[in-house]
């Protein structure tokens, strides 16, 4: 028993080293929110993202490193609307950090700040991995990003009143740049209006809503279920009647299904970044939309 205790203590000595902290420790569930937090928080925030563009935010495990990060966070920024229902509640429960529990200022749910689409009238599991609170992939509409940014700025001030002016200035600057970028994107993407696109999963609802793009079908037979050969054939039939311009998928989705459908139909496949880090030059929210629109319009020409 004594040996055991000394083993404990030695291990603690070796592994525990309490690090220095920034004004606000921000834990973002997805890279887009980490990026937004950095835009608005600058040097007053220290941001980590729980996931990368290569990971499916629906399917993350509450692994030890994430629990440790939530333990020390002052602010969680997540998409919400049940996107993280499989892991975030567990992280919040295990991290014993009262500051970031639901319904505290330390928990910022981005999708709660905007109107959501795809809210089901009724739900059961036969509908697949559906979100009762609506489609959570809200960051793909720059207009919604704008609303969320405003709300996040208010939240940052609430949590760190000393940085009030700093946050406000950064927000004003961000907002100006964003507005300009939005105008540019809308111009660039004007040709996309009415385009029909096949998606892998319904990640793109907000982007398409913004650009007036129509969903021609989904590779997943039900949200969250893998593509099947049978489903691809039936998709092919549908597309024969109403053709589509392209098939899009994210970095974290297996391109096999998209490629197979492309072979069957001749429709080109486009990989979109989906979030920050999802393509080579996508370093922030601005380049995310730059690249997204570039790739979408590249096919359209």
């Amino acid at each position: 028993m004594k040996k055991f205790i000394s083993l404990f203590l030695t291990s603690i000595m070796l592994l525990v080293a309490i690090p220095a902290t920034a004004a606000l420790n921000v834990f973002a569930c997805e890279p887009e929110w980490a990026s937004l937090a950095n835009e608005l928080g600058g040097e007053r925030v220290k941001t980590v993202s729980a996931t990368t563009a290569y990971q499916d935010p629906h399917h993350i495990e509450a692994r030890p490193s994430l629990i440790a990060k939530v333990r020390r966070a002052d602010l969680l920024i997540c998409s919400g609307a049940d996107l993280e229902v499989g892991w975030l509640p567990l992280l919040q429960r295990q991290a014993s950090n009262a500051r970031v529990l639901p319904n505290t200022p330390g928990y910022f749910e981005a999708s709660a700040m905007v109107e959501r689409l795809d809210i089901p009238v009724k739900i059961d599991r036969s509908m697949g991995d559906i979100h009762a609170a609506g489609n959570p992939h809200v960051h793909l509409d720059p207009r919604r990003i704008q609303t969320i940014a405003k709300a996040l700025q208010v939240r940052l001030v609430e949590l760190d009143p000393a940085g009030k002016e700093y946050y406000q200035q950064r927000f004003v600057k961000f907002n100006q740049r964003w507005q300009q970028a939005m105008n540019k994107w809308q111009q660039q993407a004007s040709q996309l209006k009415g385009t029909r696109i096949v998606v892998h999963h319904r990640d793109w609802v907000y982007l398409f809503d913004w650009l007036g793009i129509e969903i021609a079908g989904a590779l997943e037979p039900k949200p969250g279920l893998p593509t099947t050969a049978f489903h691809l054939v039936s998709l092919k039939q549908t597309l024969k009647a109403k053709p589509a311009k392209m098939i899009v998928h994210t970095t974290y989705q297996n391109p096999r299904g998209a490629k197979r459908l492309s072979q069957l139909t001749g429709i080109p496949v486009v990989q979109l970044p989906y979030t920050v880090g999802g393509a080579e030059h996508v370093k922030d929210l601005f380049s995310l939309f730059d690249v997204t629109i570039q790739r979408l319009t590249g096919v359209n020409k």
């Binding site: 990971q55 567990l90 950090n97």
Partner: protein, 400 residues
Amino acid sequence: MKTKSMLLGLVTFACLTPLTFAAKQDGFNPDISLVLDGRYGSYTNTSDYVLPGFMLGGEAGRGEKRFYLGHSELSLSAKVDDMFYGKLTTAIAEHEGETEVELEEAFIETLALDHGLAVKAGRFFSDIGYLNNQHGHTWDFMDVPLVYRGLFGNQLIDDGLQLTWLAPTDVYFKLGVEATRGNRFPAGGASIEGNGNQAVFAKFGGDAGISNAWQLGFSHWRADIEARSAGTHAHGAVSEVPTFKGESEVNGIDFVWKWSPNGNSRERNLKIQAEYFQRSEDGNIEMVGSSPLESSTYQGEQSGWYVQTIYQFMPRWRVGYRYDQLKANNTGSDAGVLAEAGLVTDGHTPERSTIMLDYSYSEYSRIRFQYSKDNSYDDGDNLFFVQYIMTLGAHGAHSF
């Protein structure tokens, strides 16, 4: 045009709020989750199940032949308020022809104690080891490793109190202590009037690059045991019940490594997991019910380990391999009594190799095929099982 769309927007927004609530619908009712578990077993043995060198109890067993039901598990959980979380899990199971409702869990837990502290009270799965606190339907095989079967009667569940502290460090470090009643196997009536059971554990964990994550745990468990009798599960109706009184101490180490390409477990992922436990016991065995009373001193040294790996090679499909082994070296004044208590090994080393293949149509449905070359006792056998596990209701948590 613009006015109209604004109007529409307004109406839509006005609608969305209540609708969201509608869809969420559970209102204040607790989250309910139901697990259905059905099995088909095939093997040739007809002898009672034993593990040479180990007293069996709890849920320990081999599984039945032909069609049978596993535990049908009903869970209710909810936040009590913003400070407490509560959960109850009952399992409906058939044991020797009797339908029994077992209370697996009934605990409350603090949510907002802060400073990394949390208290759990009630009946709960102990947090020692890696596998112990996991519900049966999340196991990667149909059954537990032999070392859990031999030492804990499958899983250590007890009534009491747990205090944990999570360090504010980059590396995950969690320390926990448990003080429990110890009425159930393997404590089986711990002494100090129901307070003779303590456990300590420490867990470390972290990531190694973007694609790897790991966890390492150390556990210690001890009990002053008043009367642990071998369960009737494996022995049927016996009139002389071997009963242990004395001290028991378990030390364990567990390790898990998970890999997936870019940390995206959706398509492919690999999990390697190993645990080792060692138990020392010192006391007496009495054959309760014998006349004149037979008894023996007893010093037990038992240990066991397993290593297993699970690989999801494409969405929905996983394969797994597990090897486990036990060792026992028990001594006492009366070899006959020890033999009747199942504590004599006769030189047999229990070991087992298991392979499994499972298919998950969705996150909520799984069908599993499992084959074991089981030499856990002398009458070794080939065990083949088919199992389905289906989860109805609340979304399960993806714990590590």
